[in-house]
Symmetry: C2
Subunit: 312 residues, 2 copies
């Protein structure tokens, strides 16, 4: 089983792009030209995502579906989530499930199995009332929350090792109130986010790949570049997943501090700015609603270019 960090970085190098496209579809915001062809929310969400994946898979290494946007639509939404994961993988993309899952012991193991394992098919006979028989969600990586300490993280790390998967632990989030806990200085002299960064480095020691990076990565928001520079040093082997680009205010320069000198070590997420690129002021008159995927490709290419320029 190839190491996740090696797989992800290989794909980034192949595409010359450290961009991950967030797939956070809000039914109310997706184009009517997509919706009108489908009879359920779930089918429309998947069709929208499929359009984006078809337009992005040869220029962007990874997608990051945000589970909240699928859970919001119940089972119909989760059917779309599963279809999206499977389709993105079939096109060769790396799939990072953004679920920020957290629990302890056997419950963490259950989450790890849900997202980081190819389960066997049900061995029992078919039941027509149950639509899917092939196990759980089988992604390449999952975001996790470190509040419960090692007991909450190590069950995930175990499956990262066994199955060539990855996790990204929250360290410093992009929102305004992230400092309420994350910036508090503790008796050791480190803040909470610095403490977590140190733990991420420790948790990831067992799954460092050939390229020197670990399958245990970190989430560090694009909106706090000074802190990001400091956190980067505390976890040199972690791949940093950087949210907050575009709609949340981060730009190519502010995310560049997350990269190491080798030009690697970070992957930058944008969701709304890619998904709804056809609506952006800077593209006014250039793309119709029907061309939303083409506009997304345009935005992703522009974003890749801007980041590659900022880090070279």
């Amino acid at each position: 089983m190839e190491n996740f960090a090696d797989r992800l970085l290989g794909k980034i190098q192949e595409m010359k792009s450290p961009v991950v496209a967030g797939l956070d579809p809000n039914y109310d915001k997706i184009p009517d030209c997509v919706k009108k062809n489908y009879k359920s929310v779930g089918s429309a969400l998947f069709a929208f995502n499929k359009g984006l994946i078809d337009a992005l898979y040869d220029i962007v290494p990874a997608v990051k579906p945000q589970l909240a946007y699928y859970e919001m639509y119940g089972l119909s939404g989760l059917i779309a989530f599963k279809a999206t994961v499977d389709y993105a993988k079939s096109k060769g993309m790396i799939v990072i499930a953004d679920g920020k899952r957290n629990d302890i012991g056997t419950t963490s193991e259950a989450y790890a199995k849900a997202y980081l394992e190819t389960l066997e098919k049900d061995s029992i006979a078919e039941d027509p009332t149950m639509p899917v028989k092939e196990g759980a969600f089988d992604c390449d990586a999952l975001t996790v929350n470190p509040y419960l300490g090692a007991d909450g993280i190590l069950p995930f790390v175990k499956l990262c090792e066994a199955n060539g998967r990855g996790i990204f632990s929250l360290v410093k989030t992009s929102n305004k109130s992230s400092g309420q806990l994350q910036d508090l200085k503790t008796e050791s002299g480190l803040t909470i986010s610095e403490t977590v960064a140190t733990l991420v480095d420790e948790w990831g020691a067992s799954c460092v790949g050939k390229m020197g990076y670990s399958s245990v990565g970190a989430v560090v928001g694009a909106t706090y570049p000074e802190e990001a520079e400091n956190l980067r040093k505390k976890m040199p082997r972690a791949i940093i997943l950087v949210p907050g680009y575009g709609a949340q205010g981060g730009d190519a320069r502010s995310v560049s501090v997350n990269f190491n000198k080798d030009g690697l070590g970070a992957i930058v997420n944008a969701s709304r700015s890619i998904m709804y690129a056809y609506k952006a002021d800077k593209r006014a008159g250039k793309f119709t609603e029907e061309q939303y995927a083409l506009a997304a490709r345009d935005e992703a290419a522009e974003m890749s270019k801007a980041i590659m320029a900022a880090i070279s």
Copy 2:
């Protein structure tokens, strides 16, 4: 819309039981006599839960399905989750979804809609490939993780107010490594869990019910009674959800510190010790596998009695 804290406490008083039964079904552990009648994992999980609910609904106020155990079985598992939530509610039980969800802004809103709102039915025509059309999971309450600060919690609080629902924020968890972050002392002199307890009190101020308790509750593990006593004082209006009873080592005495002098203010969860009570050494020879639900009722009644004795 009646306040969640009032609804939950009313139910606890009616049942004379502060017990919440965890529904964390592991397919490999559920009795063969249940499994053999069903053709899919999801159907078997729901049948097992239904047996437990039927045996508990008139003596226990609430159930707490742990989402990880349903997500682990993919869509089939989530169909069982939804069926379990709906069935428990139909029997008058309060349903606390244990998902420890966390995110920011519109994404937190999406999670809140997924679990704390009755969504409208899809207005579009029926699609036979989509099994469920009536929105998302519609529980009474959800557990949440505070690592992202107020931005991550207030979108949930908003729906608690609007829809008469509740949340329980992690404060101090029951596991061994919970202290890695939660026990760290910060410059204010408070530990992280104490800081979160203070925030929980603040976040819950807007949804205090007639009985003086807030719909914003807290999770404090049964395994750290000294800390629980201290945390209780920092959030006097919070209903404390106490995991760790039974299988994890907490007992009636250790959980009693979470209750206020009015005999209210906490709800104690047990999962494995109730679900698999028929296998317990202390019941050897008393219950067959077929009587798993009867054994669960026995254990839940015993647990209620022990806790009521310890707090009176």
